[in-house]
């Protein structure tokens, strides 16, 4: 196992250092990234027609880094994660093409059995709805010890002790006794802690958290996110945070992908994307969120129009009907994600003009 050395225990310091390194240095060319997603396409064949939920998505996740995926509902965030895990419901879903290289091996070519092993100790996932992902008729202890037995070969009391340790680690007091509790006896926040314990139980190299805190109250959300960030940075686990909350990404992610209608429209370091956004959709999103770090202005400057129907996308750039910068070219051809400046990528024909005006607006 080529684990990264453990970063320092202090989460803030670790993160800042990480971000600096990413901005100034080139990524190490010797070892490939932990995860490489290449031109991933996933569709759903429904009675009402075909929906291309993920329409050619490519991105990397480096060992130990935190990647954010943002975008509004239906843009394909969850389907991207489910495709990586090979958990897309079939039918109606089909992974049409692409590669998902995890430590160099293409998961899309794995047998179901090999995939089971990856899900246990290679990639952990936390879902939005803790109640639906915990089994209501099994005790918490049973649900934590199961992966320990299957993947690490821990049995009986040793598995139970490890399970109690894991509960301690996620901040559930009186952990030995709580192992016998059932999911309904826990609060929403506690259930999400248990999910984190299970997802991290076999020390995966990658943890995918899909809206893991969205259903929780803000103060509990803050607790859980800090916990997740601290644990993954202690263990050297790479983290993919999927959320529609731009604030969460700003706080926790080193880099981010902004998705719209099945495609990544902009990616880069958090600093780049938030400070010099170059895609009109990114700017629209940033102008739509109420933010406590700025004076309360009277009005928002929202993106006009509606999120398009995924089964009936506009021609050319899917954002075109809502875009202030759109020209004739945007109607005929679909823009692809191209490098923009240093480490930023943008899928927009007008990105140069957009970035210039966004800099004016943001400074």
């Amino acid at each position: 196992m080529n684990r990264l050395p453990l970063p320092p225990n202090e989460p803030g310091a670790a993160r800042t250092k990480n971000a600096d390194a990413l901005m100034t240095e080139d990524p190490p060319t010797s070892s490939p990234p932990l995860l490489q997603v290449r031109d991933l396409r996933t569709s759903f064949h429904t009675p009402h027609g075909d929906i291309t939920a993920v329409a050619g998505v490519s991105f990397d996740v480096a060992y130990g880094e935190t990647l954010g995926i943002v975008g509004e509902s239906g843009c394909g965030k969850s389907v991207t994660a489910l495709s990586i895990m090979r958990l897309v419901p079939n039918p109606p879903g089909v992974i049409e093409s692409g590669e998902v290289l995890f430590e160099g091996a293409d998961l899309l070519k794995f047998s179901d059995k090999e995939m089971e092993a990856v899900r246990g100790d290679g990639i952990g996932m936390i879902f939005q709805e803790p109640m639906s992902s915990l089994n209501p008729v099994l005790s918490i202890g049973r649900q934590i010890t199961e992966p320990l037995e299957v993947h690490l070969g821990l049995k009986g009391n040793r598995a139970r002790s490890r399970a109690a340790e894991l509960l301690d680690m996620v901040g559930i007091a009186d952990s030995r006794r709580r192992l016998d509790d059932y999911p309904h006896m826990l609060s929403g926040g506690q259930r999400q802690r248990v999910m984190i314990a299970i997802a991290l139980s076999c020390e995966p190299k990658l943890l995918i958290a899909d809206e893991a805190t969205t259903a929780l109250d803000v103060t509990i959300q803050a607790q859980i996110l800090e916990l997740m960030k601290n644990l993954t940075s202690q263990l050297g686990t790479a983290l993919v945070i999927i959320t529609h909350n731009l604030g969460i990404i700003a706080r926790y992610a080193d880099r981010l992908n902004v998705m719209y209608a099945g495609m990544i429209r902009e990616s880069g370091t958090a600093e780049q994307v938030y400070m010099t956004p170059a895609h009109p959709y990114t700017i629209g999103l940033l102008n739509s969120v109420p933010r406590l770090d700025r004076p309360a202005s009277d009005r928002f400057d929202p993106i006009p129009g509606e999120i398009p129907d995924p089964g009936n996308l506009p021609s050319g750039c899917a954002f075109r009907p809502r875009c202030r910068w759109a020209t004739g070219r945007c109607e005929g051809t679909e823009p692809v994600l191209e490098p923009f400046g240093d480490r930023q990528k943008v899928a927009c024909f007008e990105s140069g003009a957009v970035a210039r005006s966004s800099q004016v607006a943001w400074t």
Partner: protein, 353 residues
Amino acid sequence: MTASTALQESWSKLGKFAPTLPEPLLSVRDLNVHFPIRRGFVIQREVARVRAVDGISFDIRPGETLGLVGESGSGKTTAAKAVIQLSKPRSGSIKFEGQELVGLSTSAMRSVRRKMGMVFQDPYGSLNPRMRAGDIVGEPLKVHGLATSRDDYRSQIASLLSIVGLAPAMAERYPNEFSGGQRQRLGVARAIAAKPSLLILDEAVSALDVSIQAQILNLLQDLQEQYDLAYLFIAHDLSVVRHIADRVAVMYMGRIVETANSADLYTRPLHPYTQALLSAIPTPNPIHERSRERIILKGDLPSPLAPPSGCRFHTRCPIATDVCSMTVPELRSLAPDQRAACLLAPGYAESAI
């Protein structure tokens, strides 16, 4: 910065004051709404009770927005339902335009209800799927007899739809043909149909995507200006509330722990819970976020069936002392138009209620 030095800083901004307030449109005093938990087959015995709303008071003046915030289960919806008499208060007073609503007959309440519109959280569940959009919007016109003829009914619907930014031709469609944001516009159109003076918006924008949420918030601000509407705006997202509310009341486990005008609440929160709530919200600014210390509360929300003694926040409060578990703090005036229920807040001991 530790939680207590952050509080010290916030508290140090307190000044001198002399309150003067205009007549309220809605005035709620000592409102209590409890839900008994019953067990037993033949004879149902009350085994416990949830004090969902436990002695709250607030005012809303004409044309003003009061933001009501707090965690899940803090009693926001229950309080709103009591105002329109959908949940029955155990005690307390609710005065609307000077008229007492508690104990009012159903028929008398119906004419009051015309002046109160309500928009709910769920843009999917709150509209009757078998009614056309036009009739959904026009329903209050029928109920209160506000249309003089069939033509008048149709033209009122058309103008309501265009006020909320929908094409009048959409009146013929059914709710499932609308997007989430459009459905919420329909909900707003129906709520203002009978020309109310108060709109109750219970998590009305919470389920919407940010770009659509911003559109609806703008619409609400325009409507308020144009029609001098007062809003009771319920949300758990303090950053949304800041944009729309003139004053804010923060609830915790059935009680209001702080109420103030927006500007003061956000720059100088006096209650430790308000401060933790504000601190927990991440802002979309990576540089600011990474340098910022946050107050992370410990522990879970207590069970509503067994609320903590004394100050209900004491189990999670970063600055609580022994006295906090023994004495129930009152909501006291600590600054102009700012009241807080914290035993340790500056001036608490000296001030009257």
